[in-house]
């Protein structure tokens, strides 16, 4: 059985990366798939601005989603080693 878990509440891209128009990668580790199904959900938090710069600018935004198997992750981990210690969360 699997359940969804809130991995990030009140996520704000600009707060995380410090700027607009700047790439940000968030990595979620140890996602265990037991029923051949993976789900990733984004919900508008009901907060923030809604009319800047135009009406109807709010809600989740996502640029890309790569998912690697744990084995492949090892390669990824090695390759990003230079940045690995920047901002680890418990």
């Amino acid at each position: 059985m699997s359940q969804e878990r809130l991995v990030w509440k009140d996520f704000n891209i600009e707060d995380e990366v410090g700027s607009a128009e700047k790439p940000l990668v968030k990595q979620v580790l140890n996602v265990n798939v037991t029923n051949n199904m993976l789900e990733i959900r984004f919900y508008f938090a009901g907060k923030g601005t809604t009319r800047i710069p135009d009406r109807g600018v709010y809600g989740p935004i996502i640029s890309a989603i790569p998912v690697f198997s744990g084995k492949l992750y090892v390669n990824v981990k090695v390759n990003v080693e230079g940045n690995r210690d920047s901002g680890r969360r418990g």
Partner: protein, 162 residues
């Protein structure tokens, strides 16, 4: 031997990775000497609710909501793009949703995975106009197995290099 064989069959039948270029087109990028093909979903049309499945690669998304106050009744596309030389192509397009957006991948081989979420705020700006005052806040859910130890799930904040 039969175990190996059956294992092999399941390996071929199920997928073990996923690469989505949300709101964009199919692109191939070179990352760390390997070539990765990201499948785009920018062609998917809008509406108040949409269920999209890419049955070639076993993934899709479901999204709900309409931006009620933008004078665009049920947008033709829920995607945004920014033509810029300063951010990589992968981030120049994005998928948006007023309420909810769920990406899913089925026929995925059971096991342990790493999910990378790539973001870029491309609707607000860094300049000194009011366009920079926007604040976008949303919640992110990823499934976890009830067997997995949540304590071991942690996050890495990485500078994007792609």
């Amino acid at each position: 031997m039969s175990f190996i064989f059956s294992h092999f069959i399941s390996w071929w039948a199920d997928s073990n990775c996923l690469h989505v270029n949300s709101g964009g087109k199919d692109i191939t990028i070179n990352e760390n000497k390997t070539t990765l093909s990201y499948e785009g979903d920018g062609q998917v049309e809008g509406g108040a609710a949409k269920y999209f499945v890419n049955d070639q690669s076993f993934w899709g998304f479901s999204r709900t909501g309409d931006f009620m106050d933008d004078f665009d009744y049920q947008n033709t596309r829920y995607t945004v793009s920014l033509q810029s030389s300063t951010i990589p192509e992968l981030y120049q397009t994005a998928r948006i949703s007023p309420i909810s957006l769920t990406y899913f991948h089925y026929c995925l081989q059971n096991g342990n995975y790493t999910v990378n979420l790539h973001f870029a705020e491309i609707q607000f700006t860094n300049d000194h106009t009011y366009n920079s005052f926007g604040r976008r806040i949303f919640d992110i859910y990823v499934q976890v197995s009830s067997h997995s130890n949540v304590e071991h799930t942690f996050f890495l904040k990485l500078e994007a290099r792609t």
